[in-house]
């Protein structure tokens, strides 16, 4: 699978997390693949139209969010955890964009207690990432071509005006 779509997001995630977390090594004891997941998603327009989804095991999310916020987040404080993860994901998406664009407000889904739950099988590019706080994954689903056709290109607009 071609991961080129994800390269800007991977570079951005590394930059963002490196401000607070050691991204040069990975502690495998932090990898707990069967934990309930947090999924943060951000829709984007502009040069990279599509949806970025960052998926975290709960323990990794707690560590990353706590280091980013500079405070310990209580394990049952879903609101604070979701807020911090949403902000981190938004920053990753924003820094990955190379030009003017719009982003949706990040949405965070916490799959508390749904062991073995997985993301629906959409055609996405996905890559596993790791840092000292644990493993997570980044996925990008490019916007369908129909979306880009909603806004006519300048030449199409000119043609439409000419026909009127």
């Amino acid at each position: 699978m071609d991961h080129a779509h994800l390269d800007p997001f991977i570079a951005s995630a590394e930059h963002v997390l490196a401000m607070r977390i050691d991204t040069s090594h990975h502690d495998p004891s932090h990898s707990i693949a069967t934990e309930p997941e947090l999924i943060a998603s951000v829709g984007m327009t502009g040069t990279t139209p599509g949806t970025l989804a960052a998926t975290f095991p709960r323990s990794t999310a707690l560590r990353i969010a706590g280091l980013f916020a500079g405070t310990t987040i209580a394990p049952d404080d879903d609101d604070t955890l979701a807020d911090a993860i949403a902000e981190i994901t938004d920053i990753i998406a924003g820094r990955a964009a190379t030009g003017p664009h719009h982003r949706t407000t990040p949405t965070v889904t916490i799959r508390r207690g749904l062991l073995g739950a997985s993301i629906p099988d959409h055609p996405v590019f996905r890559v596993a990432c790791c840092c000292a706080a644990g493993e997570f994954s980044l996925a990008f689903r490019p916007a369908p071509a129909e979306v880009s056709r909603i806004a006519p290109s300048p030449s199409e607009s000119a043609t439409a005006r000419h026909q009127r």
Partner: protein, 123 residues
């Protein structure tokens, strides 16, 4: 010094508050939306505003234009995850004093705040 924080992320507002308090500026009003901040603005008369570029509803640039239209001369720092030149130019054109790109360490934010205050408060 009175400071207004506008960010829809509680995490970011708490980070900003921590730095401001450390710098000795604990007089802070915070808001999650630009619309709410505008309602509070005239009653608070902030000297410094930290506003996120991306907000639900009215965005950070529109907020800056709105307070400049009201005649505010507050120092304004636009906080943004975007680092492209066009975004910086748009913020300055809207009336911001300066911009800072997320993510940043508390030290970088503290330096930015101190420099911004110095720029609008000539000695």
């Amino acid at each position: 010094m009175r400071t207004m924080l506008i960010d829809d992320s509680r995490t970011m507002r708490n980070l900003h508050k921590g730095v401001l308090v450390q710098l000795g500026h604990p007089d802070i009003v915070e808001s999650a939306t630009a619309e709410e901040a505008l309602d509070l603005f005239d009653g608070f008369h902030p000297d410094l505003v930290l506003v996120d570029r991306s907000l639900p509803g009215m965005d950070g640039h529109a907020f800056v234009r709105a307070i400049r239209a009201r005649g505010s001369r507050a120092a304004v720092i636009v906080v943004s995850a975007e680092i492209h030149r066009r975004g910086i130019a748009d913020a300055i054109n809207a009336g911001a004093t300066t911009c800072i790109a997320k993510p940043f360490t508390p030290d970088i934010l503290a330096q930015c705040i101190a420099e911004t205050i110095d720029r609008v408060t000539p000695t």
